[in-house]
Amino acid sequence: MALDVFAPWDDPDAKPLIQFKNVTKRFGDFTAIDDLTVDIFEKEFFALLGPSGCGKTTMMRMLAGFETPSDGTILLSGQDMAPVPPNQRAVNMMFQSYALFPHLSVWENIAFGLRRDKMPKDEMGARVDEMLRLTRLEKFARRKPHQISGGQRQRVALARSLAKAPKLLLLDEPLGALDKKLRQETQFELMDIQESTGTTFVIVTHDQEEAMTVASRVAVMDHGKIVQVATPDAIYEAPNSTYVADFIGDVNMITGTVRAEGAQLRMTWAEGQPEIVGETSKTFGKDQSVHFAIRPEKVSISAEKPVDAANAVQGQVLDIAYLGNISTYHVQLPGGQVIKAQTANNRRISRRSFTWEDSVWLSWTATAGVFLEQ
């Protein structure tokens, strides 16, 4: 039985809900969004990820209607959004500051958008109660925003923006104000709510873990451009550039020149060191300068030279970072390059296998890392 995977972006017949077509946004001399084209599909949980100032918030504000593109078009269900003002878009937004109206109760905050639509009283009451149930806020309906905790405020903001059943919900750093533990719980709550309501979510975040956890696809942005759009595992395992590799998670980066040898690539990177052997689907020219990126957890550390490893190098332990569940070893190679290797601490640490100054071997398989042009 084939698993029915949700991947409309691989289906050439699927109609996107949102289309950015060559969109550019300039503020004076500053280009916030630079000729950007991307499709977002119905029921997707789409994450815009990037450092502050990369243009992700501008993209979201253009979807909400608070900014208009300088060039290009944004289509929602095939319709050009440019002439539609924010109060007439079937798009709702959850603000980073939550923007809860301080003078209205939780109930009134959630009902606010429904009242604007002139929804009949009993229907509106039912809808607000449904939202309160969905976000587990029934007990707090009559409280004012300053009378509830930060986590509850976050849920009110979510309930308010979902109440009008928008085609598209925009979430601007929705969990930024919560502490780490609450944030992790809330991430799963958000996914549940997204799934049960079937709404398309676009989330803006600078927290890569959050993006990886919640999103069906992640768009990594830099300087107004999308560098890569892919599923979280593809972004992590097959980044298309050193920027993405470096932005998502921890990575070792080695620079050298390559030559192809059958299905394998061999990279020369330092004198006196064996070539790095790897596999790739991309083709590189002979002696082209490339970067080899490998995650620390894919590098094994051992006292003896492993027998059948595709790649093995020797070095000296420089530093050990003990993080509880894992330890990261910083190993310096004879040429000065430092490589990080991670091991899981699946035993209580009564005696460490390696300590500072120890001479160790690092090894990895031919498929562990990726070669990147830029």
Partner: protein
């Protein structure tokens, strides 16, 4: 807990004595039987009786109240609009001139404001009276209102308005349903400030009023220029009493609200 040092205690005692003893003397002498303010001749409330039967004084008080209520109300509307323009309207032609005209009346000597308005009214051949005083008071009071309201608007989270638009409000609805209720305390203090300034003003009213309208400060002025009078002492006592009661009530209300809000916030934190 911190205590007063002897230096601070002395500075504060002397300072507040300087601020309040003159007013206390004023109040005490309003209950003096003698017409001579300098000689204490026993307790009496007769000056209050005389004040209340002084029709000219009562008329002046009525004119002042009328002028203050009308001018501070118009000034509050115009000042709030001006504040909104200053903080939110972005760039437009003549913005520098506009902000200049908002701030200039705050530092303009009253004699100049009064003189210039009088010359305008004469030039236009307008009958001077309650109307012209209202126009004058509205103009300088709106600048104070706009300063008070704009300082609140600056700290106002603009995403609240955007949230209202996002949920389907027109810009005007967003202002009425979200912005206005939140900035209301600043608007009210703006109104109170405008009201007090209007009640208090002597110079601008003297320039811009005609023979038909005399305000209370003008009446007091013409009386005190001739010297101290127990009737004015009685009037002053009433005005000081009203202001004191008003200010104390207002501060008690705001203090109570602050305490309640803090208690509720603490309760909310405990729940989470």
């Amino acid at each position: 807990m911190r205590r007063f040092s002897w230096f601070n205690a002395t500075a504060l005692t002397l300072g507040f004595a300087f601020l309040y003893v003159p007013m206390i003397i004023l109040i005490v002498y309003s209950f003096n039987k003698s017409k001579l303010v300098t000689v204490w001749a026993g307790f009496s409330t007769k000056w209050y009786g005389e004040l209340l039967s002084n029709q000219a004084m009562l008329d002046a008080a009525w004119v002042t109240l009328k002028v203050a209520v009308i001018s501070s109300s118009i000034a509050t509307i115009l000042g709030t609009m001006a504040a909104y323009v200053m903080v939110r309207a972005g760039r437009f032609h003549g913005r520098t001139l506009f902000s200049g005209m908002i701030y200039a009346p705050l530092v303009m000597p009253e004699v100049i404001t009064g003189l210039s308005l009088l010359l305008l009214f004469i030039g236009l051949n307008v009958d001077r009276g309650v109307g012209t005083i209202v126009l004058a008071h509205t103009t300088f009071a709106m600048c104070y209102v706009s300063v008070v309201v704009s300082s609140r608007l600056v700290s106002f989270d603009q995403s609240l308005e955007e949230a209202a638009l996002d949920l389907g409000c027109s810009p005007f609805q967003a202002f009425r349903l979200v912005t206005l209720p939140i900035i209301a305390p600043a608007v009210i203090s703006g109104w109170l400030l405008a009201f007090t300034l209007s009640l208090d003003d002597l110079v601008i009213a003297s320039f811009t009023s005609g023979p038909a309208a005399t305000t209370l400060p003008m009446k007091i002025w013409s009386s005190v220029r001739l010297g101290v009078s127990p009737e004015i002492n009685a009037l002053s006592t009433i005005m000081i009493a009203l202001v004191t009661v008003g200010v104390i009530t207002a501060s008690l209300i705001t203090k109570q609200q602050a305490v309640r809000q803090r208690r509720e916030e603490q309760a909310a934190d405990r729940v989470s």
